[in-house]
């Protein structure tokens, strides 16, 4: 299963994504796109997210069972603690 979260996405990007995934709540998308389609969608999201933020969580063959991709402005940052991915928020 793949989950995408879009924050402050530009117009039309959320709607576009609903052609591939189901929007279960504002900006939260769930679906099962194939690896190839996932990569292509991510490319598009990453280039168009602008000042918003995009996060994609996908299945992976690691200890946690999932991997994360982020694009756009850093609000939350995935940090790798020796193989364990945790989420960090910078303190200004």
């Amino acid at each position: 299963m793949t989950v995408v979260v879009l924050i402050a996405a530009p117009d039309g990007l959320r709607g576009h994504l609903t052609r591939w995934m189901v929007e279960v709540n504002a900006g939260v998308f769930v679906g099962n796109p194939s690896r190839r389609v996932r990569d292509r969608l991510w490319e598009l999201l990453a280039t168009r997210i602008g000042d918003g933020q995009a996060v994609l969580v996908e299945p992976a063959s690691n200890e946690q069972g999932w991997a994360i991709r982020t694009a756009g402005r850093d609000r939350w940052r995935p940090v790798d603690y020796e193989g364990l991915i945790l989420s960090a928020r910078s303190r200004r």
Binding site: G15, R19, N32, S34, V37, R40, R48
Partner: protein
């Protein structure tokens, strides 16, 4: 002209054989909203993941905007206008975003007597479970099928007490045939052809290239529908006649309810895929359009193939087209299913009385 970044590339789309679900919509508007395909009715707004769906079936009371069709075409989703629950098929459309894999496969199978016989045997085999049909000739299969149908008619006649003296019908004019039973059977079969036709179109196969039937523009539709008559239309026609429901509309609504209850749509999708592409065979998704070559298979399109084209894109060395192996987990919408969207879809049954107009938006 605005930047149309939302246009899907062939690589963005799931292969049609991985798309399993169909969506049936009635009494709603289909529109485009912020690049999404959206269904609006008096109860709710639903966004359709068009790129995951093989076919969208538009039932009574639907309106479609140009924008919605443009997005559906871009997503490679087939659109069929149908009667209630797919009984009767009126028109269909399929955009340019589809490969011809399944169609090629069907044409390849149907033009080779040995392969064609194999598919025809498989079709009969689905109807004679537990029997070995692997060596049977078409003549033997036709004979067995005839005997099976005669036995079926007799059994249902005994079960319901409706007399049966032979199937009478006039091809092409389903509704002037024989007695009530024959008339109901013809009406129910016509409805069954509708739903099979819609699914075949939705998968991108050809309705005209049949294996058992031949000559008609819907030969393949007749082939596929024959797989289900014993379970659906024949018992239904006897039941209705026994109950004194002899209107053709009763046959259509009866079949409609059975289709919805038994999820026949999915079964049709699975059966067609199984017949045309048994497990282990696969069609590669073409990069885009290609040119056929009698020795190499295919070469790239969009290149000037003249020997000394000045200033043209350099021609790649001649190699047979690479087979892109997209072995990946097939995408799913959860389970293979058909979704039904419409204001009354929740409390569908029983059917409304015929005089009642569906509420407008």
């Amino acid at each position: 002209m605005a930047d149309i970044w939302w246009k899907a590339d062939p690589h963005d789309l799931h292969r049609i054989i991985d798309r399993v679900s169909s969506v049936y919509v009635e009494r709603s508007h289909l529109d485009r909203d912020e690049n999404a395909v959206v269904v609006i009715n008096k109860r709710e707004t639903v966004r359709i993941p068009a790129a995951l769906i093989a076919v969208i079936l538009l039932g009574p009371g639907t309106r479609v905007t140009h924008g919605a069709v443009r997005l559906l075409a871009d997503s490679g989703t087939a659109v069929c206008w149908v009667g209630e629950q797919g009984v009767r098929m009126y028109a269909a459309g399929l955009g340019p975003s589809r490969g011809a894999g399944l169609l090629h496969r069907q044409a390849w199978l149907v033009t080779r007597p040995k392969e064609r016989l194999g598919v025809a045997r498989a079709m009969y085999g689905m109807r004679f479970p537990g029997e070995d049909v692997s060596q049977a000739t078409m003549q033997q299969l036709r004979g067995r099928e005839g005997a099976r149908f005669r036995k079926l008619y007799r059994a249902h006649s005994e079960r319901t007490g409706v007399p049966w003296d032979g199937r009478v019908y006039k091809a092409g004019d389903a509704f002037v045939a024989g007695d009530d039973l024959n008339r109901l059977l013809s009406a129910a079969n016509a409805a069954l052809y509708g739903i099979c036709h819609a699914v075949i179109m939705g998968l991108g196969a050809s309705p005209g290239l049949g294996f058992v039937h031949t000559g008609s523009a819907i030969s393949f539709v007749l082939d596929i529908a024959d797989l289900y008559k014993a379970e659906y239309t024949i018992p239904l026609a006897f039941d209705l006649t026994a109950q004194g429901l002899t209107d053709e509309r009763d046959a259509r609504t009866g079949l409609r309810d059975q289709i919805a209850q038994t999820k026949l749509l999915n079964r049709i999708v699975t059966d067609i895929k199984g017949l045309l592409s048994p497990p282990g065979t696969d069609f590669d998704t073409p990069e885009s359009s290609e040119l056929w070559d009698e020795r190499l298979g295919t070469v790239s399109a969009g290149i000037n193939w003249a020997d000394d084209a000045p200033g043209e894109k350099k021609r790649p060395p001649l190699t047979a087209a690479l087979e892109e192996n997209t072995a990946s987990e097939p995408p799913q919408l959860g389970e293979q299913h058909i979704a039904i969207i419409g204001p009354e879809s929740e409390e569908r049954l029983p059917p409304t009385d015929p005089g009642q107009e569906p509420g407008s938006l």
